[in-house]
């Protein structure tokens, strides 16, 4: 195994582009090193991207949008008060990953690019409308987080492409997000279902925009448009919530495993969607939940 520590994204992309065999980027290593030690994947080339300037920064632009460096661990997102006020759902989704020790290392982009259908921060990123800067051998592009996973363990990134920044939109007024997952325990487990909801309201409390994303119920994260449409125009009355639950359940295409059956996951997706929407709605109304 070759270990590289590039100091620019162009260098990282060039290294990955020239590499033969298995190549991995090393962010927090909480997936890469587990796979290495379990002899699941032993990379021939490991590119540590944490020495590139700026990768540990969280910054807000004058328009209110955020840029999160690709090496920022969950613990630093959690400690960033202003980011948590703007995007509590995104921060709480990241914070659910692993233990305090795992939080000291795990990153948003690692969670996304590892490609687990149950990755906790991914529905929250998708609901938030997160976009990513990608540096490749021939230049840069910007893609939506929802377009990254293509199958379990597979992403749409081409050979030599590395994610170079995470862009979170401006929060805007009367808006809020939330993430909930169902696990059989209270800590340290893999989501049976994950649900993120991101809402904007008008001054009367009517939903004007919504994004609903589900994790662990299909081969990749789902952005469920019917579920969002069930909420838009409502003030989250019981009818709207029932329509939301039906749309969320209808979108599911899960597997059965030891954590939950197809029927269970499909049902829980609806229940979680309702609960998550209520929290996002309360936050959009300025409640500190």
């Amino acid at each position: 195994m070759q270990y590289h520590r590039p100091t620019s994204f162009n260098e990282a992309a060039a290294l990955a582009n020239q590499a033969t065999g298995e190549t991995r980027f090393l962010a927090g290593g909480t997936d890469v090193l587990v796979q290495l030690r379990a002899d699941i994947v032993t990379p021939d080339t490991l590119i540590d991207i944490k020495s590139i300037p700026g990768v540990g920064d969280i910054s807000q632009a004058p328009d209110g949008s955020w840029t999160i460096g690709i090496a920022v661990p969950g613990a630093e997102m959690r400690e960033h008060v202003q980011l948590g006020q703007d995007w509590p759902g995104l921060v709480e989704a990241m914070d659910l990953i692993g233990s305090t020790q795992v939080q000291g290392r795990a990153t948003l982009v690692g969670n996304l690019c590892n490609g687990s259908p149950a990755a906790d921060s991914v529905p929250a990123m998708v609901a938030a409308g997160v976009e990513l800067s990608v540096t490749g051998p021939t230049g840069n592009r910007r893609i939506a987080a929802v377009d990254v996973p293509v199958a379990p363990g597979r992403t749409s990134l081409a050979k030599g492409e590395v994610v170079s920044a995470v862009h979170v939109p401006a929060r805007g007024t009367n808006a809020g997000d939330a993430y909930l997952r169902f696990i059989p325990r209270t800590e340290m487990d893999i989501a049976v279902v994950g649900c993120a909801v991101n809402l904007s309201l008008d001054t009367e409390g009517t939903v004007t925009a919504a994004r609903v994303a589900l994790g662990a119920v299909a081969p990749t994260v789902l952005l469920v448009e019917d579920a969002a449409n069930a909420l838009i125009g409502s003030s989250l009355d019981d009818k709207a919530l029932d329509r939301l639950a039906s749309a969320a359940s209808a979108a599911c295409n899960p597997i059965s495993d030891k954590r939950g059956t197809v029927e269970f996951r499909t049902h829980v997706a609806g229940v979680l969607a309702k609960r998550t929407a209520k929290i996002a709605y309360a936050r959009a109304q300025g409640e500190n939940t």
Binding site: M1, Q2, Y3, R5, L26, G28, G29, T30, L33, V34, L36, R37, A38, T42, L46, D48, K50, P73, A75, G98, S99, T100, Q101, V102, G104, R105, E187, M188
Partner: protein, 159 residues
Amino acid sequence: MKKIHVTTTVNDDNVEFLCDPRETLLDVLRDRLNLTGAKEGCGTGDCGACSVTVDGRLVCSCLVLGAEAEGKKIATVEGIAKGEELHPLQHKFIEYAALQCGICTPGILVAAKSLLEKNPDPTETEVRYWLAGNLCRCTGYDKIIRAVMDTAADMREAS
């Protein structure tokens, strides 16, 4: 395989070592630097017995490569006592008998110290969540939690 030369700081001492690219920080601490306080319980981030801090951040040393230590400040359980003088947490763990076999103890001490530095007045729930990644097969956790809570109270009084 070509070895990597690493210069780093462990418990405020400057150290240098050569390691294989696949070697973890835990391997380096135990096998090259003779710091055997950090333990390998699982090697996959689940048990916390290998807990150390890197630049003040609590991590599992089994999920950090030795090569990643370059230029960092590492702190391990060996640095918690000042010479013969035990840290208040260590005194309380003895007083409460918060350990039996002791395998989990170095990791729990490092993790608990890191909590109290960030939050000198944690609730019991906060202590339990903070330590959720530190598994103990012997004590049933209760004595550990009480020892940490009591240390926090004493340290607040003393300061």
